[in-house]
Symmetry: C2
Subunit: 242 residues, 2 copies
Amino acid sequence: MQDMQALIGILGGMGPLATVDLMAKIVAGTPAERDQEHVPVVAWNVPQVPDRQKAMDSGAPSPLPAMLQGIERLNAAGATRIAIACNTAHHWFDALAAASRAPIIHIADATLAGLAQSGASDGPVGLIATRGTLRSQLYQRRFAQAGIACIENTEDELDRLFIPGCYAIKRGGLDEGAALLEAAARALLDKGAARLVLACTEVPPAFEHAASALLPICIDPTRALAQACISYWLQARPVQHV
Amino acid sequence: MQDMQALIGILGGMGPLATVDLMAKIVAGTPAERDQEHVPVVAWNVPQVPDRQKAMDSGAPSPLPAMLQGIERLNAAGATRIAIACNTAHHWFDALAAASRAPIIHIADATLAGLAQSGASDGPVGLIATRGTLRSQLYQRRFAQAGIACIENTEDELDRLFIPGCYAIKRGGLDEGAALLEAAARALLDKGAARLVLACTEVPPAFEHAASALLPICIDPTRALAQACISYWLQARPVQHV
């Protein structure tokens, strides 16, 4: 056995499918000829976290204590870098990062890095995201610094399309959810978006499940976060003597 | 936040895709209307474990110390029940169970329970499995006690079909791997198997990826293990007050 020097921790459960999706994208994206070359991951996929959106909307119980418990357990398990498999949860990023010995990768930073690598950074992007993610300006601030404008759904579109689509996915209705989310996406294209950032971790698996015609113009922050995890591992992994 | 009373630990990484598959099957199989009703899982998906098959064949370094580290970390993280996302690793089941405070679910027991529930227990089953799983008699002993005969691939079929198929999947060659594994499966049907137990966690995702025509007569121990985890959670979960 080699020394365990680098270990990715995933703070998940929000929802649990998003964590599975991130883990699958880490495996799929890793150049590996055998098991031992894959990224070591410990995942805290515990969905008993109060609803993030409701907490931001109405002062319902905060998800922060449950998320801090996950961060503590991941650090105790030896994680040396942490990824959060939920965009909205990044609203609490500063508090989580302050409590974590292991540095936390920000999903919007990973997305920007992916955009820069792809070279395709022309025109405004449409943000498919929860109201919480939009209000937190997680993406808009970072994208503005990179000279990229963001287009958002209206309150009405969020209420009629995005939110019911997201909750449909959470209860297993992938087809129904994908149809609603595609309608939300088309509203952004009508307003001039050249590409779409699927900035809610529930959305990419639903679009992939539905083989959405929009996929070619979609940017998947979950895939970008997976790539950031892989890049960290490739740079940090020890010499192998398994 | 509710009290965390029940938590599934997954000992994974052997290979990492098998763990993702088990986690996906836990999410898909859980009756849940919202995130908080899903099964809480902590997954140790760390593939830096010496090759199980080589250790059994030739006295190469044992995977047991790395697996024991995973069991220790899962217990430390609060796991109250543990599943092992690798059939061959069950060769070391007794040593792992002895070192674990949390009881470990045996994948062959979960498979038998699934078979009993399905009611479809007629005729011999073909075992698609590594040489290590076959030699360990993990399935044969338990199935014999239930009156179910097992048919195995020959040494030659293992060398030509099963083993290269399995290693193809581990390096990402799902189509190539599925074709080789299907040939191994057809050899078992020729010898009188009525159904197939896909007793290597690499196989179900490959067959699903390839939409194998054999799937209707396949029994998936990973799905059975997922169901055992779900049943445990449904029985053990606390009253929810999220």
